[in-house]
């Protein structure tokens, strides 16, 4: 990537923005915030392009950039989920109307993901919604595959618990 000039980088932006948005939306659950995340992620990618060494796919590096950017956005949010009991819908959760286009079933899943701890969302979204292999997700998160397995084990169970709570 360091060898890419501005024009080539612009080509990467055109090719990968839709995917970046999809990941951002699935992680944060809010269309407006997802767009902000995408713009911030591209700026971070341009400034940090020297960190891409070319020994992995551009998409792996970009997934890392957009998930890190999304996590930074989520950390800056105020907490939206009560620590005990069934979570109540919070103001910055996606409204039912916002999710209507995605279908009611998908809406339930996205609401449940949005209620999980941020650290659980990334492996879930990359593996279960983006359909990446364990090796690809591990590369994005810079984890070993066995450690990823453990995280996903907990995250999947947590997701089903949230799905039941939010019904």
């Amino acid at each position: 990537m360091t060898g890419l000039g501005a024009a080539a980088f612009d080509g990467v932006v055109r090719a990968h923005t839709d995917r970046m948005y999809r990941v951002a939306l699935r992680l944060c659950g809010d269309p407006a915030e997802a767009e902000d995340i995408v713009q911030d992620a591209w700026i971070a990618a341009w400034r940090g392009r020297a960190s891409f060494r070319g020994d992995s796919a551009v998409s792996t590096w970009l997934y890392r950039v957009v998930t890190n950017t999304a996590m930074a956005h989520l950390r800056r949010r105020r907490p939206t989920v009560p620590l005990d009991g069934v979570p109540e819908p919070a103001d910055d959760r996606p409204s039912p109307e916002a999710w209507a286009l995605l279908g009611e079933r998908a809406a339930a899943v996205h609401r449940a993901i949005a209620a999980l701890e941020p650290s659980q969302r990334v492996p879930l979204v990359l593996r279960e919604l983006e359909g990446m292999t364990y090796e690809e997700v591990a590369a994005v998160l810079e984890l070993s595959v066995p450690v990823l397995h453990k995280r996903l084990h907990r995250a999947r169970a947590a997701l089903l618990v949230k799905l039941r709570e939010l019904r």
Partner: protein
């Protein structure tokens, strides 16, 4: 999970061990088709009165996740163009603002000015519901916003409030060397 039992019944147990001693989380792994944590669990669950319904229920719920993965997520129109504009703005922000201080000069890069301005705009627009900043550029001492104003909100008032909020945020870094802040309404959103 946390080791506490669920509802006590086989179908509805959510965490911890089932009455047969098997872990509900491990049943989820079987339902998902993930790496086996308990190698004998699949065979056990076929005949266990506690595991079989719990596994069936988890599998049905996991089908919702699979269905969600299949539904397309269309990006908003023009997103790639706005992303390109943001990158080009960052690329072009190579100058700096010089703030005279006693005994020297403080230089604040235009990249920092753009970052602070963008964050301040988001803060203001989120708090007021006035719309969304579609673009933020800094060039030649001017901060420019492309604003998507919310339908039914007076653009003049949003622009005035946005300008004041951004200048206040920037004043912490630039003292009285505040840039001009221009706002262009580029869209209307619901």
């Amino acid at each position: 999970m946390n080791g506490t039992s669920g509802t006590g019944g086989p179908a509805g147990a959510r965490t911890g061990a089932l009455p047969c001693g098997r872990e509900w989380d491990d049943l989820v792994a079987v339902a998902v088709g993930g790496p086996a944590v308990d190698p004998g669990l699949s065979a056990h669950a076929e005949h266990c009165p506690y595991c079989a319904p719990a596994l069936s229920e988890a599998a049905a719920e996991w089908s919702l996740v699979r269905a969600a993965a299949e539904i397309p997520v269309p990006p908003p129109p023009g997103l790639a163009g706005r992303a390109l504009a943001a990158v080009r703005s960052a690329r072009g922000a190579v100058g700096s603002v010089e703030v005279p201080q006693e005994g020297g000069v403080l230089r604040v890069s235009e990249q920092v000015v753009a970052f602070v301005a963008r964050e301040a705009a988001r803060e203001f627009l989120a708090a007021t519901g006035g719309g969304r900043a579609r673009s933020t550029t800094v060039r030649d001492g001017t901060v420019s916003f492309g604003l998507a104003v919310r339908f039914g909100v007076a653009a003049v008032e949003v622009a005035e409030g946005l300008r004041a909020h951004v200048r206040l945020a920037l004043s912490a870094h630039l003292a009285d060397r505040l840039p001009e802040v221009t706002v262009e309404v580029v869209d209307v959103v619901d």
